[in-house]
């Protein structure tokens, strides 16, 4: 099982550049863990739901089933807190690190 998965919304009218955010997040965490972009129904220990706007239409029960814990990026918000776009990747990276509590995420998997 892969540890951290990324699931995108469909991107109909995004208020943030979703792929740019994910690229930045990958860069920050490059030496710590590998982020996997969702292509099927694989399960993760932690999921990052990347939605282009606050509607977060991809935040549905069947998506939530893919991981027990989620960090929700919805437009310029991280877990419902308004967050400067330039800070979002860093904020999410901190949340990921906090979730794993300093553990090696691959080890957890």
């Amino acid at each position: 099982m892969k540890c951290v998965g990324v699931k995108y919304c469909g991107g109909c009218n995004p208020h943030i550049e979703r792929s740019k955010f994910v690229d930045e997040l990958k860069k920050i965490l490059a030496e710590e863990m590998h982020l996997t972009v969702c292509r099927g129904q694989e399960k993760w220990e932690l999921g990052i739901l990347v939605c282009g706007c606050a509607t977060a239409c991809a935040d549905r029960p069947e998506i939530r089933e893919l991981a027990p814990e989620w960090i929700l990026v919805a437009g310029p918000n991280v877990d419902i807190e308004p967050t400067p776009v330039a800070e979002m990747a860093r904020v999410v990276a901190l949340k990921i690190r906090k979730y794993f509590g300093g553990r090696d995420p691959h080890e957890v998997a």
Binding site: V6, C12, N13, C38, C57
Partner: protein
């Protein structure tokens, strides 16, 4: 192959043997014809985005038949959430293509035919729905693009089909055989016909008893014997032949329509979905039109997003962005565009389940949506032209811009803000021209007026669905009227 890649889709079209006429000649290779190719690219985009994790949440769905992952264009809506996602997908595709991506007609047709054939079988004991389900399974498994073909040429609008001077002005059953039917006639304005694998024909209006032979619905391979296509001209279409991509405005994407002609085409019974049951023709027309009127609350909004963005860029490049009236015009454009989107979302969220199990949009709100679409894109286009300035229609050609001598003159005098290259200004003005006056205006303007039914058709539906008597009751109650 539940999901084709873009390349697989393109290859699949190359295997078809369609009879296509364009500019007085037979087109041997429609896929690579420079006038047709951009429209193929738009449909191809519907396959490519379905493969992309960034878009798959909208572009794909779960088949209600076998729970497989399928392209949303092959999906029967199983919930109001599906209806909402359809509109969002269409907005996305409009944004990415800036054009008509054509595949909606098939999706809208299968959703209408599903519920109507189910109701026909239930009442009449026919087996149309069973046949339809077999076709649907193939469509989903092979990820087919299907042209939903409804609009007949119609001849004299004051006469029903059977009283027309020429009986072929509406598609009709010309002959019934033990093994199937033979059809004659034509379908006009067929969006994406030449980029489709199959066609799903439906009657164009409510038929009466005397027009029972015109109450016909069937599926057929797009290259079936006896079917031919005459490609529709678009404003500025031959610019695509000039080798000047800037002048085309949108080099990569486009849409198309064609006249689809049926010259004694044999349809085996297994592909016939209505053959004379005129009392169900009205329901089929209304439901298809309703779904398609919903569609415009997504696709036109996506193209509108592009046009608004282009107008804002033009203002930037003209040095006019700080002017308060320009800002206000852009606000108005966004307001109008989002109003259309609101209608598309509303008629989806207020949808309901049909007897067959798929979901139908709220018909009143879908018709309100389309009625607004007959107006707002025109106003958005007008404002875009206002912001862009006259240069969008008086600008020199790309060949002049590239010319070794006069190119410097074009570069010098067509520059706006000094820091922005003249070429960028030319490109964005040509894009605005493309959407408002050029090839894409077919989809953004006149199709907004007449596609999915002309404005009066929506007003008739609004009158039927508007619940006027209840409104009178409200007024009476507050006014203290007892009668």
């Amino acid at each position: 192959m539940a999901l084709m890649t873009g390349e697989q889709y393109e290859d699949s079209l190359r295997k078809l043997n369609m009879k296509v006429y364009l500019l007085g000649e037979i087109v041997k290779n429609p896929v690579d014809h420079p006038i047709i190719r951009p429209s193929m690219n738009s449909v191809k985009l519907t396959y490519e985005l379905a493969q992309d994790p960034q878009y798959e949440d909208l572009m794909t769905a779960t088949s209600h038949i076998n729970s497989g992952k399928i392209n949303r264009f092959c999906h029967l809506h199983q919930s109001t959430d599906d209806l909402v996602k359809k509109v969002k997908m269409q907005r996305l595709l409009g944004q990415k293509s800036g054009a008509c991506f054509q595949r909606c007609v098939g999706m809208d047709a299968i959703n209408a035919v599903d519920s109507v054939t189910f109701e026909m079988d239930r009442k009449l004991g026919t087996e149309y729905h069973k046949r339809f389900n077999k076709f649907l399974l193939m469509m989903q498994e092979e990820d087919l693009t299907v042209d939903g073909a409804m609009t007949d040429p119609k001849g004299d609008r004051g006469l029903p089909p059977h009283k027309q001077a020429d009986p072929d002005l509406f598609v009709r059953i010309a002959e019934r055989r033990p093994e199937g039917i033979v059809v004659r006639g034509a379908k006009a304005h067929q969006t994406g016909a030449i980029n489709s694998h199959w066609i799903l024909v439906m009657p164009t209006m409510t038929m009466g008893k005397e027009d029972a032979d015109y109450a016909v619905s069937f599926v057929a391979p797009a290259d079936a014997e006896g079917i031919s296509y005459i490609y529709g001209r678009q404003s500025c279409d031959t610019r695509k032949l000039e080798g000047s991509p800037i002048d085309v405005g949108n080099r990569q994407f486009g849409g198309h329509e064609a006249l689809m002609v049926f010259d004694n085409v044999f349809i085996p019974w297994e592909n016939v979905l209505m053959a004379g049951e005129y009392e169900f023709s009205g329901a089929l027309v209304e439901r298809f039109a309703g779904y398609h009127r919903q569609s415009y609350g997504g696709c036109k909004v996506g193209v509108g997003d592009v046009l608004i963005g282009a107008a804002a860029l033009a203002a930037d490049y003209n040095g006019a962005m700080k002017a308060s009236h320009i800002k206000d015009k852009l606000i108005e454009m966004m307001h109008l565009n989002e109003t259309l989107y609101a209608c598309g979302i509303a008629c989806s969220a207020e949808g309901s389940k049909t007897a067959s199990g798929n979901y139908l949009i709220n018909m009143l709100l879908a018709n309100v949506c389309k009625q607004n679409v007959t107006r707002y894109p025109y106003e958005i286009a007008r404002l875009a032209e206002d912001i862009a300035g006259g240069l969008m229609v008086t600008m020199a050609s790309e060949k002049d811009f590239r010319h070794p001598e006069i190119g410097k003159v074009v570069e010098k005098y067509f520059r706006g803000v000094a820091t922005v290259p003249t070429e960028s200004r030319m490109r964005v003005l040509r894009l605005i021209e493309n959407i408002t006056l050029g090839t894409a205006a077919v989809g953004y303007r006149t199709e907004s007026m007449h596609g999915a039914g002309s404005p009066q058709a929506q007003r008739i539906m609004i009158a039927r669905q508007g619940n006027l008597e209840q409104k009178k009751s409200l007024a009476k109650a507050l006014a203290g009227i007892k009668e």
